[in-house]
């Protein structure tokens, strides 16, 4: 369907843009302004220029939280995408059992983060958790998953992957089901095996879906808060202090609204850069496909 006038799509988007401007863009400008002050909400704000940014950079807090969040995002995005794709390939067939398994995998995604976090705290309990018991029974060395700075972030990443893989699977399933069956049949007639069909038909056709899943998983991993708040409170030794949790800590624990706002601004900047990179990668791939065609 073509719009009668070029302005029509934008008019339709206007209410959404208005809401975004009021509840998202305006608070971001407020945060930008607050980031230039020292303020604890109780006393008068004092203008501090860029010192909040300088202090965050000099103390290593900024690089620490950026590194941790990016590492977490890489693990979560790659884990949820590959597992989601694998499950979608396995379960993309008719039948009640497959339907039930698809439903079971997706169900984790609709459960609240707090419930998921509490469940996994119990499963990962260092002494009586299911994982610990299984490891012990198999004589595999176990660990204090949530108490050890070396394992805590991995544990949080694992729980996040477990939670969002169902979502990735459903999107990949939709992508798989939109691939014309005739393409696979023609390739099979030409002697292409399963692997070749995946490589030359499924994977290229799923690229936009993969980009979408990767982008949304990236955003979800950057938004991680509840799971950290419930499971580790950013510890031990700040090993699970991800970006949003760091912002929360600055404003609600250490009373530094200016520094929290500076983190918000940096966080926003990083996400914009990542989004632009993603769009750029998409446009390159689109151009390549056009050239190939």
């Amino acid at each position: 369907m073509r719009p009668k006038h070029a302005i029509h799509p934008y008019l339709l988007l206007a209410p959404t843009i208005a809401i975004l401007a009021l509840f998202f863009i305006y608070p971001l400008f407020v945060a930008m302004d607050d980031s230039l002050y020292r303020w604890d909400l109780l006393t008068e704000p004092r203008y501090a220029g860029l010192s909040n940014y300088r202090e965050l950079a000099a103390s290593g807090a900024l690089s620490g939280v950026i590194g941790r969040t990016l590492g977490f995002a890489v693990v979560v995005v790659s884990g949820s995408c590959s597992l989601g794709l694998g499950l979608a390939l396995l379960l993309n067939r008719p039948g009640r059992i497959y339907g039930a398994v698809r439903g079971a995998v997706f169900s984790a995604y609709v459960v609240s983060w707090v419930a998921v976090a509490l469940l996994w705290m119990w499963i990962l309990d260092a002494d009586s958790g299911v994982v610990t018991r299984v490891f012990r029974a198999l004589h595999i060395p176990t660990a204090r998953w949530l108490a050890d700075p070396d394992t805590a972030l991995w544990a949080i990443a694992f729980v996040t992957i477990w939670k969002i893989t169902g979502y990735a699977m459903v999107v990949f399933l939709a992508g798989l089901q939109s691939i014309p069956r005739s393409l696979h049949e023609a390739a099979a007639l030409d002697g292409a095996g399963r692997l070749a069909r995946f490589r030359f038909i499924t994977w290229p056709t799923l690229r936009p879906t993969t980009a979408f899943v990767a982008t949304t998983s990236l955003i979800m991993s950057f938004q991680a808060f509840d799971v950290v708040r419930v499971m580790t409170q950013g510890g031990p030794v700040k090993s699970t202090t991800l970006f949003v949790y760091a912002i929360y800590e600055e404003v609600f624990v250490t009373f530094r609204v200016g520094r929290a706002s500076a983190l918000v601004v940096v966080f926003f900047g990083i996400l914009i850069v990542l989004t632009l990179l993603n769009l750029w990668a998409l446009s390159i791939s689109r151009r390549q496909r056009k050239v190939a065609a």
Partner: protein, 428 residues
């Protein structure tokens, strides 16, 4: 194509905005806090479990006795969650009539001029009736002219709890010195990973470390400088590190109250022979342990010393003036020996009034509850907190994270404390 790219870009940016604004949204939420003044004067509290039941029973009793000054209690999460909400409510101009805050934050809130002096609300007789070590004037090293901002309520000190069965099995008694603590922790530890029993556990928490700094003969603040105990601070931190490295001390998972919960749970499960926790947990541990629980004073190094903990009632400025009647009434009610005792005996917090302790002694309560007596007797060793507006920041922002880093993260103890002192200097 251009339009599509623009629309696509907009959608991508919306995603980024959504995530980016999460933090800004957290800041924006600041303005949403309120005291619910439609229901009249509010008391914000942060107790859970038995403490909550005991407080709510007292609020109900107060409201029954004085309906004209009724106050309604509103649960606001743990101490630090309550503090965050209180701050936002003060900023939003909608604070509760009354609440309670951890002791260390009292100088900060007083310096920010957001608390009402309580002299006009609580008479001199009531103020003088509190146990000195638990009242503001005795718990803090403040100038004599400092107004009373906090009325003691659920006050506590760190204390040791021991599993009597294990003590008897080892033929040991509670440790009186750090050397005895080390020896008992080593003796009581046994087994290997997976089925290990630890001799000792305590939350890697500033409060415990401050107790040890005092025991090692140090002070947090000397003159205008946060020395953090100097060598005493180092000795305290090193003791934890050494015991953990030897496998005699369990390091509880989680931060803040999660670590406290884990410590108690491990003790109750028999996986730890001795813990340091709060006097506030005496009733909980006694009632839930499958073995006899023995309370003991914390051991000494150079001397016996414990800081006080728990909270003070405070009246934030900015509450509607008509709520002052209820605030004054409830403070007076809670300053009475009988109400203070009711809360203390139900929970394990130390009774706040001198008359209350005398009453309990007379009634034979301490004869039948020897663990409660330990908490009261340990008050002789209370070390005052410095009355400094930065005390809370030093705790939450500067020291706590470095203690975790040294004990849980393996950082060098001396370097961690040197770094903490540097950060404290910069903060000043």
């Amino acid at each position: 194509m251009k339009r599509r790219a623009l629309l696509g870009g907009s959608l991508g940016a919306v995603g980024a905005l959504g995530a980016g604004a999460l933090g800004a949204g957290a800041l924006g939420a600041v303005g949403l806090a309120g005291c619910g003044s439609d229901r009249g004067p509010a008391l914000w509290f942060s107790y859970g479990g038995k403490n909550r039941e005991a407080l709510l029973a007292l609020v109900e009793r107060h409201n029954r006795e004085r309906p004209e000054a009724a106050i309604h209690a509103v649960f606001q999460g743990d101490y630090f969650e309550l503090l965050a909400k209180l701050r936002t409510a003060i900023h939003a101009g909608a604070p509760p009539a009354l609440t309670h805050v951890v002791g260390e934050v009292l100088p900060y809130l007083a310096a920010a001029d957001v608390l009402e002096p309580l002299e006009p609300l609580v008479d001199e007789a009531s103020r003088g009736g509190f146990i000195p070590a638990l009242s503001q004037s005795g718990a803090f090293d403040a100038p004599a002219s400092t107004p009373t901002y906090g009325i003691p309520f659920n006050r506590s000190t760190p204390i040791a709890y021991l599993n009597r069965q294990i003590l008897e099995e080892l033929g040991a008694s509670s440790p009186k010195t750090w050397d005895e603590l080390r020896a008992l922790a080593a003796k009581a530890s046994r087994g290997a990973a997976g089925d290990k029993r630890y001799g000792f556990a305590c939350p890697i928490d500033w409060w415990m470390w401050v107790a040890m700094v005092g025991q090692a003969g140090g002070e947090l603040l000397e003159g205008d400088t946060f020395t953090l105990g100097g060598d005493a601070g180092l000795r305290a931190l090193q003791l934890w590190k050494d015991m953990a490295a030897a496998g005699h001390m369990m390091l509880p998972a989680g931060r803040d109250y999660n670590a406290w919960t884990v410590t108690n749970t491990e003790f109750l499960a028999g996986r730890v022979a001795m813990i340091w926790s709060s006097t506030a947990f005496v009733r909980y541990l006694e009632e839930n342990a499958k073995f006899p629980v023995v309370a003991a004073p914390l051991p000494k190094d150079a001397r016996f010393a414990v800081p006080t903990g728990g909270t003070f009632f405070v009246a934030p400025k900015g509450a509607p003036p008509e709520h002052r009647v209820a605030t004054a009434s409830f403070l007076e009610f809670m300053s009475r020996a009988d109400t203070s005792n009711e809360f203390a005996t139900k929970t394990g917090y130390i009774p706040a009034t001198k008359a209350g302790i005398a009453e309990l002694e007379h009634a034979g309560f301490y004869a039948s509850h020897p663990n409660d007596r330990v908490a009261v007797e340990q008050l002789d060793a209370v070390q005052r907190w410095p009355w400094h507006r930065n005390l809370f920041r030093i705790q939450r922002e500067i020291v706590q994270s470095r203690l975790e880093s040294a004990v849980l993260g393996g950082a060098d103890a001396r370097a961690s404390l040197d770094d903490a002192r540097r950060a404290a200097r910069e903060e000043l």
